[in-house]
Amino acid sequence: MSVLIDVQGLGKTFTDTTMRLGPKRPPVRAVESVSFQIHQGEALAVVGESGCGKSTLGRLLLHLIEASEGRVMFENRDMSAMSRHEIRQLRQRMQMVFQDPFGSLSPRRTVADIIAEPMDSFGLTKSRKDRREKVAELLDLVGLPPSYMDRRPRQFSGGQRQRIGIARAISVDPAFIVADEPVSALDVSIQAQIINLMQDLQEKRGFSFLFIAHDLAVVRHVADRVAVMYLGRIVEMGTKAQIYSSPHHPYTEALMSAAPRPDPAARSNRIILEGDVPSPSNVPSGCPFRTRCPLAAEICSVERPPLIEVEPGHTAACHFATPYPIAQRSPAT
């Protein structure tokens, strides 16, 4: 598998650029020194609470917002060095599915117009007839009857709208899709439908994909690898099996423990994190998680733990994570 996307030291700081009088708001470090690779046909899940920078990361990868530091290489080309025209052409290769099934479809356009929009933009529809045929095919692919194409979004339920959004994203046959919490606004029963649909489509079309979620349970079925983010940084990353069976970061463990289980017998014994995520404009010193961490010790407020390898392909940023013994480390890594 070749590398499709190579993220190198990516960071984004939002600064207050308004011309108001008075004190400016402090800059917000939404994403900080994030590095990873996504291979062709691979699904990477990014999980974290709201405000952890996961949506910003998704938008940085698509160059919907510009990075303050680091770079994103797409098929070995540096996106930050591209012209606006080149970026727009690249959008044919990378698409996005949005969280809000209601807001992300324009209310005054028909389903056909919405789905065909990316194709129209890149001149992929030859005639009216061709366009309708392609839209019909896409609707069928996402499990909606083609006769829906002349209706407007308000007639559809959340799950159906999300299917329309997915049809729009895959219409230009992209190599990479960012799905920003595509199921968190849906009923649990509908979540399963959408997750299965995205999995099927990935198998059929072979795109890579970044799946953003706040819930580790949702991601389990989609992801090949999982990255857990906290306050703009990746705190743990590994393959699905590694993350779910042997989490090394206390935050990952807390996230798993917080997911409600449909089993009344398993009620007790959960780790309940105290308080909220601190403001990203005022990140705690040392380890950013220490204010809520059940393991926090003195060193945590002084020194920020680096991402260390705890087993091959599995990294965690915690002072208490045991580093993978050097002796056992394979020469390749």
Binding site: P107, R108, P118, R151
Partner: protein, 302 residues
Amino acid sequence: MTDASTAEASAELVAEREALAPEPGFREAFAQVILERPSTRIAFVVVVLFILIAVFAPLLAPHDPLRQSILQINRQPSWDHWLGTDQFGRDVLSRLIHGSQNSLIFGLLSPVFAAFFGTLLGVTAGYMGGIVDRVISRVIDMLMAFPELLLAILIAAALGGSFWNIVVVLTVAFTPGFARVARASTMAVKQEPYVEAAVAAGVSTPRIIFRHIVPNIAAPIVVLMALWSASSIRIEATLSFLGIGTQPPNPSWGNIIRDGLSNMFATQWPIAAGGLAITIVVLAISIIGDSVRDFLDPETNQ
């Protein structure tokens, strides 16, 4: 997932599809919203009627609107002069009919021009943001600070009160209002997830502006247009009244009222007729504006 359950899903979806109300086409929706309201229908007929009157004025007017007759001054309505005559013995009805040309052209032309330029400026400022926005906004603020009437008098005094001068003046005077509304609406619509979705899908900027921004800010622009149409007819009347609009002896509704006012103790018909004509047209345009706004708003257009 087995094929059986997929089949079930589609069976269920077929049942659901039957249930969905058919989506009305544009024409049906238009007919529904615009023409099903009796008030709108009447307003529509009124405006069309006035436009026809203006177009066919020479054929409809029973008399030459400029012909004076010392023998027939200040007549009350009669078979020959339905609305009587003014202090120069001119037929009031004929002047009203010919005057509709000037008044309606003013009433419609300047707001349409201003809506075009204002929307262009406002959308540019709102969508581009940054320094472009700041420059455009400051210019708009400057223009806004001038009362439109004062501006009109100023320019008319400097350049003379020709027809096109007045149109230009009113266009300049109305543009900032449209630009303000367009800019604010654009900034709001720009935040909508579907606009971000379009950017992410690779849609070009001009296409985003014309497909996603403009249709979604059209409603307030149309309302403003109706509002300014009314104002425009009124301002033209004021300018004519002040003597810098339509130049006598040519008639417009404004100067019919002005001439009537200086003669109001002899006959009240010119004032009443001119005033009523302005009121009816302004009201009709406002009603149509409201309906069009409802039509353009996807939430009320059910």
